[in-house]
C-alpha cells in the first residue's frame, strides 16, 4: 500500500515524534532524582521527602477516594443508562422528545470543563446557602466527577450492547430467564468488558481532571492534582513535585499496559458476540 520510500520517511518522522511525546514526562522523572541540597549526583532524596510528607499522603488518599468513589457510582448509573437506552427506547422514535436523552448525554462531553466547573461552583454554593447541604469539599467533587463520567460509561456500555446480536436477549427469555435473570446471567456477563472498560475510563477521567476538581473543592479537599498545581503556583517545580509526577505517570502507564494486554486476550470472544448476528 505505502511505497517503501514513504515508509522510511514516515518512520523517520514518527519515531522522533514518539520520543518528543515522552520527553517532557521523562524529564519529570529525571529531575525527580535530583540530589538533596549541597549534594551531588542522583538520589532518592525527593522520594524520601515524599514518604514523610503527610500532606501528600492525604492528597493521594483523597484522590483515590474521589476516583474510585465517583467511578463506582458513575459505572452503576452509566451502565443502567446505556442499557436502558439501548434496550427500551422506542426504535425510530421521532420528535423533539426522542432526542432529549441524547442531548442530556452529550452535554457533559461537549461542555468545556471550565464552564462545567464554574457552573458546579455556583450551583453548590446556592444549594449550600439555601439548605446547608453540599458545602464545597470532597463530597461536591465526587458529585461533579460522577456527572462527567456517566456519559462516557453509558456510551461504552451502549456501544457494546448495540453491537450484540439482539436475538440473544430473546434467547435468554426463551430459555426461562425472566428480566432479572437475563440481566444477571446474560447482560451483565456480556457487557462486563464494557462495564470494566467504563469503570477504568471513569477512573482515568477522574485522575486526569484538574479544572472541575479545582472549582468544586473546598476546605481540606486538596487532591493530588490540586496539591501539585498549588505547589507549582507557589514554589515552582521542585524535585518533590517531580517525584509525585513520576509516580503518577508510572502508575498510569503501568495500569494502562496491563489493562491493554488483558483485554486484548478477552476481546477475541467479544468480537464473536458482535459478529454473531445475521441479517
Amino acid at each position: 500500500m505505502i511505497p517503501r520510500g514513504v515508509r522510511y520517511a514516515l518512520s523517520g518522522i514518527s519515531w522522533p515524534l514518539y520520543a518528543l511525546l515522552y520527553t517532557p514526562l521523562a524529564l519529570v522523572a529525571y529531575y525527580s532524582f535530583a540530589p538533596a541540597p549541597n549534594e551531588a549526583g542522583h538520589s532518592l532524596h525527593a522520594y524520601n521527602l515524599l514518604l514523610h510528607d503527610g500532606d501528600v499522603f492525604s492528597a493521594l488518599r483523597r484522590s483515590l477516594i474521589l476516583a474510585i468513589g465517583s467511578a463506582i457510582t458513575s459505572t452503576a448509573l452509566g451502565t443502567l443508562l446505556g442499557y436502558g437506552l439501548c434496550r427500551f427506547r422506542t426504535p425510530n422514535a421521532k420528535g423533539v422528545l426522542a432526542h432529549i436523552p441524547s442531548l442530556i448525554i452529550y452535554t457533559p462531553i461537549i461542555m468545556p470543563s471550565l464552564v462545567f466547573g464554574i457552573s458546579e461552583l455556583i450551583f453548590f454554593n446556592l444549594v449550600h446557602n439555601a439548605t446547608g447541604m453540599l458545602g464545597a469539599g470532597l463530597e461536591t467533587m465526587i458529585i461533579a466527577h460522577i456527572t462527567f463520567q456517566v456519559p462516557y460509561v453509558a456510551l461504552t456500555v451502549y456501544a457494546r450492547l448495540a453491537g450484540l446480536d439482539r436475538y440473544l436477549f430473546d434467547a435468554a427469555n426463551d430459555l426461562y430467564a425472566n428480566g432479572l435473570k437475563s440481566f444477571l446471567y446474560l447482560i451483565i456477563p456480556l457487557v462486563q468488558p464494557a462495564i470494566i472498560g467504563g469503570f477504568m475510563l471513569g477512573i482515568t477521567l477522574s485522575i486526569d481532571d484538574f479544572t472541575i476538581s479545582f472549582f468544586t473543592s473546598g476546605p481540606g479537599s486538596v487532591t493530588l492534582p490540586i496539591y501539585i498545581y498549588g505547589a507549582i503556583a507557589r514554589k515552582g517545580i521542585s524535585p518533590e513535585i517531580n517525584a509525585i509526577g513520576t509516580l503518577m505517570i508510572g502508575t498510569i502507564i503501568l495500569l494502562a499496559l496491563i489493562h491493554f494486554f488483558i483485554t486484548r486476550h478477552r476481546d477475541r470472544a467479544g468480537q464473536f458476540a458482535a459478529r454473531g448476528s445475521i441479517s
Binding site: M1, I2, P3, V6, L10, I13, S14, L21, T23, P24, L27, L77, G78, L80, L81, G82, Y83, G84, L85, F88, T90, P101, I104, I105, T107, P108, P112, S113, L114, V115, F116, I118, S119, L121, I122, F123, I143, I146, T147, V150, L155, A159, A162, T204, I207, D208, D209, F210, T211, I228, Y229, I232, N242, M248, I249, I252, A256, L257, F260, R264
Partner: protein
C-alpha cells in the same frame, strides 16, 4: 375491537416507557440535576447587574454583555477582543500543529504490522491519561528558563537570557497541541484505516508526484476524520484553563483564564457568566459549522446514542 387493540399496544408501550425510565432515569436525572440546571443558573446570572463586589443583583441588565464587548467604567477597551482573537489564534495554531503531526503518525502506524498497531496507538494516547496538571507542567521542564530547549533558543537569540520559552504564548500553543494530539489522531486513524487503497493505486498513474497523489487520492478520503479531529481539538483548546494558567504566566490571557478570573481573583459573576455565554455560542457555532461540513463531505461514523 379497535378499542381493545389500542389498549394492548398502549399497555405494552407504557411498560416499555417504565422500563426505560427505571433504567436510564437515574443517570439522566443526575446529569440534569448536577450539570444542566447548574449551567442554566450560570447562564442566567449573565442577565443580572453586578453589585460593587461583583455579586449578581437585580435589576436584570445587559451591562455584562456590554462589558464583554469592551465597555467598562473606563470606556471602550479592545482588551476582550484581543483575548478572544488570541484564544482563537492559539487554539487554531494548536489544531493545525496537531493535524500536521497526526498525518505522518497515523500513516506510520498503518504501515506497521496489524497486531502492533493498537499498541502504537496506545502509546500516543497514554500521555493524555496522566493528569492534566502533570503533563502540562512537564513542558516547563523542557521549555522553562535554563532548560535545554530554552538555552538553544537563547543561543539563536530568540529569547532574552534566563527567560526561557515558558511561560509564554509559544509554551501555551505547544502545551495545547500536546494535550489534545490524541483527540486528533484517534478519529484520523479511524478514517485512514478504512482508506480505499484501490483509489490510491488508480491515482498513482494519474499524478506524477507523491505529494499530489496524497493531496488528490489520500487526503479527501481522510477528510471526515480530520474534521472530527478538528472539532475535538479546537473546541476544548479554545476554552482550556490549565494550559494557559500553567504555561502562560498570565502574560497573555486566554478566554478561559479571563472567565475564571471573574470567579476567583477579581469577582464579577454576571460579567463572567456573560463571557461564558459568548464562549459557548462560539463553541456551538464551530460545532454546528463543522458538523454541516462533515455531513456534506460524506460524514464520519461515530457511535451515537
Amino acid at each position: 375491537m379497535s378499542g381493545a387493540l389500542k389498549t394492548e399496544q398502549e399497555i405494552e408501550a407504557g411498560r416499555q416507557r417504565l422500563r426505560l425510565w427505571v433504567t436510564s432515569g437515574p443517570g439522566l436525572v443526575w446529569i440534569m440535576l448536577f450539570l444542566l440546571i447548574p449551567s442554566a443558573v450560570l447562564l442566567g446570572i449573565a442577565f443580572f447587574s453586578s453589585d460593587d463586589y461583583g455579586a449578581p443583583v437585580l435589576p436584570l441588565s445587559v451591562q455584562p454583555f456590554q462589558q464583554v464587548a469592551g465597555y467598562s467604567l473606563l470606556g471602550w477597551d479592545p482588551g476582550n477582543i484581543t483575548i478572544f482573537l488570541r484564544s482563537l489564534g492559539q487554539a487554531g495554531t494548536a489544531t493545525l500543529v496537531s493535524a500536521a503531526l497526526s498525518y505522518p503518525l497515523v500513516f506510520f502506524i498503518l504501515s506497521q504490522r496489524e497486531d502492533l498497531r493498537p499498541l502504537l496507538l496506545l502509546f500516543i494516547v497514554l500521555p493524555s491519561w496522566t493528569n492534566q496538571v502533570v503533563r502540562t507542567y512537564a513542558w516547563l521542564e523542557l521549555l522553562g528558563p535554563n532548560a535545554p530547549v530554552s538555552w538553544a533558543a537563547h543561543l539563536l537569540h530568540a529569547v532574552p537570557p534566563d527567560l526561557g520559552l515558558a511561560p509564554g504564548s509559544f509554551a501555551v500553543t505547544t502545551g495545547l497541541a500536546y494535550n489534545y494530539l490524541p483527540y486528533m489522531i484517534v478519529p484520523l486513524y479511524a478514517s485512514a484505516e478504512k482508506l480505499d487503497w484501490t483509489l490510491v493505486e488508480a491515482g498513482r498513474d494519474l499524478y506524477a508526484s507523491g505529494l499530489r497523489l496524497f493531496w488528490h487520492a489520500v487526503f479527501p478520503q481522510t477528510l471526515p476524520g480530520l474534521l472530527s479531529g478538528v472539532i475535538f481539538v479546537a473546541i476544548p483548546a479554545f476554552g482550556d484553563y490549565v494550559v494557559p494558567q500553567l504555561l502562560g504566566g498570565d502574560k497573555a490571557l486566554m478566554i478561559g483564564s479571563l472567565i475564571a478570573n471573574q470567579f476567583t481573583e477579581t469577582p464579577d459573576w454576571p460579567y463572567g457568566a456573560a463571557l461564558t455565554i459568548i464562549m459557548l455560542v462560539f463553541t456551538g457555532m464551530g460545532l454546528v459549522g463543522f458538523r454541516i461540513l462533515t455531513r456534506k463531505l460524506g460524514g464520519a461514523e461515530e457511535v451515537t446514542i
